[in-house]
């Protein structure tokens, strides 16, 4: 089944490839229809997913025996939400791409290949396979930014590609090192995650390897000070590119930190909690501060991503139940809300061909539905109780308060800063009376646009009101990560950091 999840978008891309280039009106609808298939499958996976710690729905086929590489797929509570998120966002991103009028066929093909690669990253249990997907997705995203982006697209695409490729190059060396070590210790090379997790590493080697992996993922997240590619990529990318970039691709970094750094290098992870925590908090505050002064709406959302992803990194390296669960669910939340915000910015850009905040004003009167969705997503992004952002940020802050109290307190200011830059932006764009002539004639959202936003809004509300629909499935896996760390290091999660400590009534298994 996991194989199909990866292959369906590829097959979709092949189908689109076979349609005539000239029938441009066909490509987008076909792409949307074809990307609904993996969504259906992902929802089925969500339904049959058992809340347990082990990998589920695993598949294993040897790829090339002497190298120990394998087509080794599986899913657990950390990757499942990401797969579902990916499959939700792709049809929406395609639906938002009516602006793409030239070379639509290639656009749809690249988007579907990108989807296959992103799903592949999340479900790979073999590091070689993981790397193949991790690196391969750079190519379609490179084309999406470079061909359909705005003025400085080539520069942005190149910067994006080289930055991320640089990080993953050193990770490749790290992966090779792990496989060679496995060969020395067990007599055969292996890239399987459980095998490599059981290696005996000297602390020096572990720290180096941790650094190699962390660098790759930190560039992807991006963690301050490696974030400079992100605003460029976002501003230049077309709407679909921005949605997938912010919604899913950045999460490859946070997912990687959680999945690989914590599992493979527990000792080094424990040693690194302060470094990573500080970088995360600097990112939170810095991203928010820079967002405040952005004159460009899209750049503002881009910098808000830097800030929000800081929370996820902080939660990950808090090494508590709350932190990890918060990190995983915040991955999803940020994907939904920021995806929606980029979608909204794209919609206004389609109407006005500008993203400058100063160009707008009083849109609330002209486009009430649009303003309503925007405000809703802003509230979700700020973390208003009842909406999804609150759940994630609350869990992260509570979780990190146990282990990194000072950082947790500083991070909390990020929530306030988010309120400042987002609400201020809202005020400037939507409130008052429309002064500019162009703004008076703007049409409100069409049915198509509402139907793109509505599912996202519904999910934001659902996760805000009843997060357990997801948290129940996440918790066993994040607990397993903590168990693994406690078992392989001296680290003990201080009370009340573990799940049992919080839910005294339910979770205790004395």
């Amino acid at each position: 089944m996991m194989t199909w999840l990866v292959l369906l978008p590829v097959l979709g891309a092949v189908v689109v490839m076979l349609t005539p280039r000239a029938r441009t009106e066909l490509h987008l609808p076909m792409g949307i229809a074809l990307s609904v298939l993996p969504l259906g499958l992902a929802l089925y996976v969500f339904a049959v997913f058992e809340p347990q710690a082990d990998m589920q729905l695993t598949e294993f086929h040897s790829w090339y025996e002497p190298w120990g590489i394998a087509w080794n797929l599986g899913i657990d509570g950390i990757s499942m939400p990401m797969v579902v998120l990916t499959t939700i966002l792709v049809p929406i991103a395609l639906g938002a791409s009516t602006m793409v009028t030239h070379r639509t066929k290639e656009f749809v093909i690249y988007t579907l290949l990108l989807e296959a690669g992103m799903i592949g990253v999340f479900v790979s249990l073999d590091l070689f396979l993981f790397f193949v997907f991790f690196e391969a997705i750079l190519v379609p995203m490179y084309f999406i930014i470079g061909i359909w982006g705005s003025d400085r697209r080539v520069y942005a695409a190149m910067k994006f590609f080289i930055y991320t490729a640089f990080g993953s190059a050193l990770m490749l060396a790290g992966i090779i090192a792990l496989a060679v070590l496995h060969n020395e210790q067990a007599g055969a090379p292996s890239f399987a995650l459980p095998d490599l997790g059981g290696l005996e590493l000297s602390i020096g080697a572990e720290r180096w390897l941790f650094a190699a992996f962390a660098l790759a993922f930190a560039i992807k997240v991006p963690v301050f000070p490696l974030h400079t590619w992100l605003p460029d990529a976002h501003t230049e990318a077309p709407t679909a590119g921005s949605i997938l970039l912010a919604g899913v691709m950045l999460k490859l970094g946070t997912y990687g930190l959680l999945r690989f750094n914590l599992q493979l290098f527990p000792e080094a992870s424990v040693d690194a909690i302060w470094i990573m925590g500080i970088l995360a908090v600097v990112g939170i505050v810095y991203g928010a501060a820079v967002a405040i002064v952005q004159p460009d709406l899209k750049k503002l959302v881009a910098y808000s991503s830097v800030s929000h992803l800081g929370f996820i990194v902080l939660g990950t390296f808090a090494l508590t139940s709350g932190g990890l669960q918060g990190a995983v669910i915040q991955n999803v939340n940020h994907g939904l809300t920021t995806g929606a915000l980029f979608l909204l910015v794209g919609m206004i850009y389609e109407r006005r061909h500008t993203k400058q905040i100063s160009e707008f004003g009083g849109l609330q009167k002209v486009m009430p539905v649009f303003a309503g969705f925007f405000l809703f997503m802003i509230f979700a992004s700020i973390g208003l109780p009842g909406l999804n952002g609150f759940v994630g940020e609350f869990l992260v802050l509570v979780g990190s308060f146990t282990t990194l109290p000072v950082l947790s307190i500083i991070a909390a200011s990020g929530v306030i800063l988010a309120a400042i830059y987002l609400l201020w932006a809202y005020e400037r764009v939507f409130t008052g009376v429309p002064e500019k002539e162009e703004n008076e004639a703007l049409s409100d959202l069409s049915v198509r646009e509402v139907s793109l936003l509505a599912p996202l809004a519904a999910l934001v509300l659902l996760l805000g009101l009843y997060p357990n629909v997801l948290l129940d499935k996440i918790a066993p896996s994040t607990e397993a990560v903590l168990d693994h760390i406690e078992a392989s290091t001296d680290y003990v999660v201080p009370a009340p950091g573990r799940l049992g400590d919080v839910f005294v009534a339910g979770g205790d298994e004395e």
Partner: protein, 485 residues
Amino acid sequence: MITPEISWLAILPEVMLALGAAGVLLVEVQWKPQSNVLGAIAAGSVVFASAFAVLQWVQAADSVEFGTTDELVAFSGMVLMDGLAIFGRFALLAVTAFGLLAGWKYIVSLGRRSAEAIALILLASAGFSIMVAANNLVMMFLGLEVGSIALYVLAGMSRERARSDEAAIKYFLLGSFASAIFIYGVALIYAGTGELEVLGIREFLAGFVVFSPAVILIGLGLVVVGLGFKVSAAPFHSWAPDVYQGAPAGVVGYMAAVAKIAGFVAITRVLLAGVEALDADWLPIVAAMAALSMLVGSTLALVQGDVRRMLAYSGVAHAGFILTGVVGGTTEGVLFYLAVYSFQLVGAFAVAAAVSGADNSESSLDSYRGLGRRSPFLAGSFTVLLLGMAGLPVTSGFIAKFGVFAQAWTNGFRWLVIVAVLASVIAFAFYLRIIVAMYMDESDAVEIDVPGTSRWVLIVAVATTIVWGILPGSLLSLAADALPL
């Protein structure tokens, strides 16, 4: 060791190629036929040569299985019929067939001189084919010279173009120096060991403790310099950009690929089969050469404004990656890399030839602008090949790079692997520049016509790049079986 009877099978592929070359020339003189007839003769000789190479492979596999590997030493130890030699022949023959197809339009355009071009290609292949099989270093030198001289002439085939003349002269002068250095190295190795045969040198080193191996090492160094020139490894690469740019586009891919295959098989044979006992001495030097090649090749390729020069510098970087495999100490990674890279190289130059057009001169990056519109087929295949050379996953280039990196890491050369991964990132930048020009720049230049034969070359090159990127098992196990004696 010495087998008195002559085992023809060991050299039949070369005999076929040489017969083909002679046949083409004689038929041309006597009947002055259409180019297609000459092409058929050439194709026949390549097919027969390949068939005999397959026979050799079967026999070699049998001999290894039954432990009668002495049978594989032929002509009193002059040539070998081991896996390494036969794998080298497979690669050379495939590239020869590709080279003829990719360059066919150019060859036909030569008119009556087309027979010369075909004969030169077959002769070059015959020479390099004997070089990869040579056990005796003098034999290796003979093969090297037969092949190289044919290539010098081939580089100058377009006499009316000054650039082509310049390329030929430069290639010839520098190449002769390299050959001289090589043979001087052979002499010194002979002085130090009393042996000319690779297997004999190995026995000598295994049987004697050499207290001061200085003479052997200097000789070895000179041999490596000579071969390093042929494969355009830094710092012996300076000829490559001029030759790649000046020589006729139709045959440059072939020229580059065969020289690389033969040179690297020879390097592997000498270093890994011959003087492995001295590896403490040569490994650091070869590693340094690899690192230098990767860095010099990648960075200089960045600043080129000409696609063929860019490919030449990327070839320097690739030489470094392949040397990284040599440092890894096994032949498997080197051979796999050589096979996939030479396919990509011939394919890439088939694109360059098509873009260069009839006058065969234009290869600036500007002439690639908007290629995605002007010829989606050319641009698409070039993109796959460039991504393959860059080593992006899902292409054979990634598997190849991964293989050599893993071997070098296993052998303890971690710094080299780190240099290599960083060099690959630098390399991404210039491969992407070409892709940017093709897809992200607009141009109103005319559409480009792709010759049918080039089309087939490109289809095969792209298909192998992707298929071996996803299912590398078959080629990898073939390369793993292709061991030197």
